[in-house]
């Protein structure tokens, strides 16, 4: 049953060193506030999971919170590379990171299998790709009716799923709209879940298309603009300038470390982070 709580308390109570954690979001609704809180609470040895690791995971990898990354596409969309991700993979800074990589279709099938309580999912995928040689979590399965060989992927069971959404209603149910990606599956694939939302409402906006009932959620925290620099349909636009600016911030180890201290690690909460970023953006503007 979802507890409406502070983000600090949610992370403190639900995320542990060494956990397998997915902070999901497909461009839309990326849970930056929750990711930052995980970093402020200096969690380590995480296995980070996400189909599309972007700047948030670059930050988390760059400060050394992750030992492993399970993913299918890691980049700064429309901008270029994730420099911290690359530095960890190419040069082992701040420490080496183990990769397990898949295709989007494979990751989606893995989430669906876990959400469905199955040990594996079936798809037409990976065939002929060198991806097959790099993971033990892809195999083959034979159709018992046609004899056809298909690809099997291992269910992606999570310790913790973290997502951002538009609203929580008075019963603790969470409502989303717009591109909802694989967030429902991630929550249902996890033992524990944290949802940050833009606001608490008496009854959902009529635009809500996906509802996660209170009783499948562990904690809900109200964090306005908690997806910045990603966006929340109906509440905020994507801060494309920040994604572009991240390229320069993240290119240099020293500048990155200083920026993280000043903007994430040594601030009180995500509200402070946003005020800092906004002020700098106004100065730069």
């Amino acid at each position: 049953m979802a507890e409406i709580t502070s983000l600090h308390a949610a992370v403190a109570g639900l995320v542990r060193d060494g956990d397998t954690v997915a902070l999901e979001g497909f461009t839309h609704l990326i849970p930056y506030a929750a990711g930052h809180e995980i970093l402020r609470q200096t969690l380590h040895h995480l296995t980070l999971v996400r189909m599309t690791p972007d700047v948030l995971y670059d930050q988390m990898i760059g400060v050394g919170a992750a030992d492993r990354l399970v993913f299918s596409w890691g980049g700064n969309p429309g901008v270029g590379s994730l420099h911290r991700f690359r530095d960890a993979v190419e040069d082992g800074w701040p420490h080496p990171i183990e990769l397990e990589e898949h295709s989007h279709a494979g990751m989606a099938a893995r989430y669906v299998a876990a959400a469905s309580g199955l040990p594996f999912g079936t798809l037409r995928g990976y065939v002929g790709s060198d991806l097959l040689e790099r993971t033990a979590n892809v195999a083959t399965v034979t159709c018992p009716f046609t004899g056809e060989e298909l690809t099997a992927v291992r269910a992606l069971d999570l310790d913790v799923a973290v997502i951002h959404a538009q609203q929580v209603d008075r019963h603790g149910n969470v409502g989303l709209w717009g591109l909802t990606g694989v967030q429902k599956e991630a929550v249902l694939a996890a033992d524990r879940s944290i949802v940050t939302v833009e606001e608490r409402v008496t009854a959902f906006d009529s635009r809500v298309t996906t509802v996660l009932p209170a009783w499948v959620l562990s904690a809900v925290a109200v964090v306005p603009h908690g997806s910045h620099p990603s966006y929340t349909q109906g509440y905020s636009n994507r801060d494309n300038a920040f994604y572009a600016a991240w390229d320069a911030i993240s290119r240099d180890r020293g500048r990155f470390a200083a920026w993280m201290r000043g903007h994430v690690l040594d601030v009180d909460d995500f509200g402070d982070h946003l005020r800092l970023v906004d002020a700098e953006s106004a100065l730069a503007g």
Binding site: F26, T27, H28, M51, T52, F71, S72, W73, G74, G75, P77, G78, S81, L82, F85, R86, V89, E90, E101, H102, S103, H104, A105, A108, A109, Y111, V112, L123, R124, G125, Y126, V127, G128, S129, D130, L131, R134, E148, E149, G178, L179, T180, G181, V182, K184, E185, T209, Y231, Q233, N237, R238, N240
Partner: protein
């Protein structure tokens, strides 16, 4: 109006898309080309984005694959698992539009890593939707700038399969789509030989000489005996492209 190499690549890519085709488009040049086609000869083209937007009609080419306007303008918005299972895997996509960091003579694609996997020179973003787009779309079009860095004799990593080892080897893998039917570059257009499936230069863009294309290809490039020159981008095409780019800025 000056015509950049990227402009002509985008215009030629747009021209290959017929109206009403259902296109699975990645971000960047593929998305730009598909949206250009929609403004020109293919107003009823159906753009499918892996973020879950089916029939998106963005006024601005999306910077990212999950921009809000995709959902707002789409005919249908579905989950990411559904996009891959019900729509791509089930064979409902006419054209898959891909780019590449490396491509070989059989149009196999690498978007994973430059150098050895365990000690990479450049770590690239990875597979994304490409392996299954390449496998399950009825046809695949690749859009990529041509250079010795990208057109290589041997991929450092096979992320997505084109025509595999040539001849019928792709079909023997069990892949259901036809595979790449064209590779559109900033220099010309390459198409697979109907028998061997090796890429053959069939078109050069205006002002491009064959030697330049060969020089920017990491294997002995076959040239079509009926090589043609791409029709120059028309003012209408270039104006539409500039409008799109302007909206992007």
């Amino acid at each position: 109006m000056t015509v950049s190499a990227d402009d002509i690549m985008t215009v030629v890519a747009a021209r290959t898309l017929r109206d009403r085709a259902v296109c699975f488009v990645g971000i960047g040049l593929p998305s730009l080309a598909a949206n250009l086609a929609r403004r020109l000869h293919a107003p009823d083209i159906v753009l499918v984005y892996e973020s879950g937007a089916i029939g998106a009609k963005p006024t601005t080419p999306p910077l990212s694959i999950g921009d809000g306007e995709l959902a707002e303008t789409a005919d249908a918005v579905v989950s990411v698992p559904e996009i891959f299972a019900y729509w791509l895997q089930a064979g409902r996509i006419d054209v898959g539009f891909l780019s590449a960091a490396q491509i070989d003579r059989y149009a196999n694609i690498n978007t994973t890593v430059i150098g050895p996997y365990d000690d990479p020179k450049v770590r690239l973003p990875g597979a994304g939707g490409a392996p299954e787009i390449a496998a399950s779309s009825r046809e695949v079009i690749v859009v990529v700038r041509q250079s010795l860095r990208t057109f290589v004799d041997r991929l450092d990593f096979v992320t997505s399969v084109g025509h595999h080892a040539g001849h019928d080897s792709r079909a023997r893998l069990g892949l259901r789509g036809r595979g790449p039917i064209a590779v559109i570059t900033d220099l010309g257009v390459l198409r697979p030989d109907p028998v061997s499936q090796e890429l053959v230069l069939t078109e050069v863009h205006p002002g491009v000489v064959v030697e330049e294309v060969s020089a920017r290809t990491g294997w002995p490039l076959r040239i079509s005996p009926t090589l043609t020159v791409t029709a120059a981008p028309t003012p209408v095409e270039l104006t539409a492209l500039e409008e799109l780019r302007g909206r992007l800025a």
